[in-house]
């Protein structure tokens, strides 16, 4: 009899122990959720604060006015035009370069020290602080190549900055294309480049596009490297128009024009003591956040959609 009662107490002791340990599962689940909510709520509070501060300034005039000494009349016309033009240069320079480098590393690169060297450098460049790119651009583009503090110099700087992002995304997209596709192309007599251009690239377009959008979103928000090359903060004019009504109809003068971009405009308003200018800064911040978040969300959605659709 005593044996059996012992068993019963043992069983209840074990049950209690299990319950005790299981309680920790629940407690940690709570802590984990709380930590996540803490992060999310803090960020939501910050964004809400930004929107509330800047809401009053977000009207049509804000987008169509030049910066001004009077906070109430100041706008972001020159800033968003500058951002658009710089992004154009960045996309035209950075994306083809990054995609080509990705194709080489994934499809062509032999296994040797040179390939290792290139790969190490790509990883390394992704970790270089953006302000160091600014110093590179100041020494190389602004003074050695004599581009001055121009849209071209800024666009090229940001192109170098997003290069690792585009390369990594391209490589991932290409790696996801199964080898059987390539073998089928070779089997009907395609050359290497024909295989890549006609088969591998079309299948990896979505992934490459995703990387490109994420890279551009990052470039839009970058402030430090553009400050370093010496972009002006007070620009009350637009760069010369790229198209005109007189021959030769297109002009590239805008490439060498002085400029400002959205983050720099925000920074310059932020460093003023008057509260009215801080409102402008908040409004500019809302514009930047909406742009980058929209681009990032588009990229994530695109990737999700294609991952679901493609079945090899």
């Amino acid at each position: 009899m005593s044996d059996l009662s012992d068993t019963a107490t043992q069983v209840s002791a074990i049950r209690a122990m299990i319950a005790r340990h299981k309680r920790w599962d629940v407690i940690f689940s709570m802590i984990g959720l709380a930590a996540m909510l803490l992060g999310v709520i803090t960020l939501l509070a910050l964004f809400l604060d930004l929107v509330l501060d800047g809401y009053g300034r977000l009207n049509y005039e804000f987008f169509t006015s030049f910066p001004s000494r009077h906070a109430g009349q100041a706008g972001i016309l020159s800033a968003w035009v500058g951002t658009t033009l710089v992004m154009l240069v960045t996309a035209l320079a950075g994306v083809p370069l990054g995609v080509a480098a990705g194709i080489y590393l994934e499809e062509y690169a032999p296994r040797n020290w040179m390939t290792d060297l290139i790969e190490i450098n790509v990883t390394n460049l992704a970790g270089v602080p953006s302000i160091v790119y600014g110093l590179l651009a100041l020494g190389l583009f602004v003074y050695q190549f004599d581009l001055g503090q121009s849209i071209l110099a800024a666009g090229l700087t940001l192109a170098l900055l997003i290069l690792p992002v585009v390369i990594v995304a391209t490589r991932e997209a290409i790696r996801a294309v199964p080898g059987s596709i390539r073998e089928a192309a070779y089997a009907v007599g395609a050359t290497k480049w024909q295989t890549v251009a006609h088969h591998v690239l079309p299948y990896s377009t979505a992934g490459i596009l995703t990387g490109m959008i994420i890279g551009m979103a990052r470039a839009i928000g970058e402030t430090a490297p553009i400050i370093t090359i010496g972009a002006l903060t007070f620009i009350a004019f637009l760069p010369p128009s790229p198209v005109s009504t007189t021959p030769p109809f297109v002009s590239f003068d805008w490439l060498l024009a002085p400029f400002t971009v959205l983050p720099i405009q925000m920074f310059s308003w932020l460093s003023r003591p008057q509260v009215a200018f801080l409102e402008n800064a908040a409004a500019a911040g809302v514009v930047i956040i909406v742009m980058t978040l929209a681009m990032n969300a588009a990229a994530i959605w695109l990737r999700y959609r294609f991952r679901k659709r493609i079945k090899w």
Partner: protein, 303 residues
């Protein structure tokens, strides 16, 4: 009878473009190396001009950094201390929160929650840093001033805190990747011994992924060290050799921004100081990045 097209011409037509394309692609890939070389050459070249006027000894030991004043001192220490201190505050926020979130996501959260949270984390890492600078200066600092009344408007605490919030997604996502790389059978072994989820997460998965988690911390430090706009806006621009985060102090990157905003003539000593400072910054981040990547590779090779 027409002559048969020569085999040689055919080969040339087929293979010459291939060669050219391969060459072009290689040149594109080589830009990565060229950019690294260019960064090093530019920074070292301009720094050499700087060190021709200032001895390396003075640079490393002087406790004042006042290149823009008439009484010039060129000691990098105050800038380095500001950089390390703001990064330390950031890490004190990001390491606990990032690790808990990573453990929760990897071991506790349902598949569906993870599918929602992961893209959200990605989205957050896309927020421009200048916006975080705004938060630090105009939201966090006034909030902290309620608790600590004599906190100055520019201080390292609020800059560090916001930087911490900023790198949480990064730390969480890299640590979570490391934990997910731990094979399932190790977890199952632990469950089979009667361990609970929490015991498995803490005593089996976390140690197995330790080097990956540490790598996430180190890569987080590297981000904080190189971060510019948050500190330039919220921590002030006054070099200050102190270990008190309640004071304001310039970091290396904030100094570079401050100088760039003025109009310094090309080739002067003041112009060269930003390259010397940039070289120090590059070496610091390089140090952390190399350690981080070595540790990250280690956990990949175990299984």
């Amino acid at each position: 009878m027409t002559a048969k097209p020569s085999r040689f011409a055919y080969q040339v037509r087929r293979h010459l473009p291939e060669r050219i394309i391969q060459g072009l692609l290689f040149m594109a890939a080589f830009t990565a190396v060229a950019v690294t070389i260019a960064i090093v050459v530019i920074l070292v070249y301009e720094s050499l001009g700087f060190f021709a006027h200032v001895s390396l000894w003075e640079f490393l030991t002087d406790t004042q950094w006042t290149p823009l004043f008439s009484d010039k001192h060129f000691g990098i220490l105050p800038l380095v201390s500001g950089t390390l201190l703001t990064s330390a505050v950031a890490l004190a926020v990001a390491v606990p929160l990032g690790t808990i979130i990573a453990i929760y996501l990897s071991e506790f959260a349902s598949h569906r929650l993870r599918e929602v949270v992961k893209p959200f984390l990605e989205l957050l890492s896309g927020v421009p840093t200048i916006v975080y600078g705004y938060f630090a200066l105009l939201f966090v600092t006034p909030l902290l001033q309620i608790i600590i009344p004599d906190l100055p408007g520019f201080n390292m605490l609020s800059a560090g805190l916001v930087m911490g919030i900023m790198i949480i997604p990064y730390v969480a996502s890299v640590s979570e990747d490391a934990m997910r790389a731990v094979p399932m059978h190790i977890r199952e072994g632990s469950y089979a011994m009667g361990a609970t989820r929490f015991q498995t997460a803490l005593r089996v998965v976390t140690p197995a992924a330790a080097s990956g988690i540490v790598a996430a911390y180190i890569l987080g430090i590297s981000r904080a060290v190189g971060e510019t706009m948050v500190v330039a806006i919220a921590a002030g621009t006054q070099p200050n050799l102190t270990w008190n985060p309640l004071e304001g102090a310039a970091t290396i990157s904030a100094y570079i921004v401050q100088v760039s905003l003025g109009d310094l003539p090309h080739g002067t000593l003041e112009y060269q100081t930003i390259f010397a400072a940039g070289l120090v910054l590059l070496l610091m981040t390089l140090f952390f990045n190399v350690i981080g990547h070595l540790m990250r590779r280690r956990y990949r090779e175990v299984y």
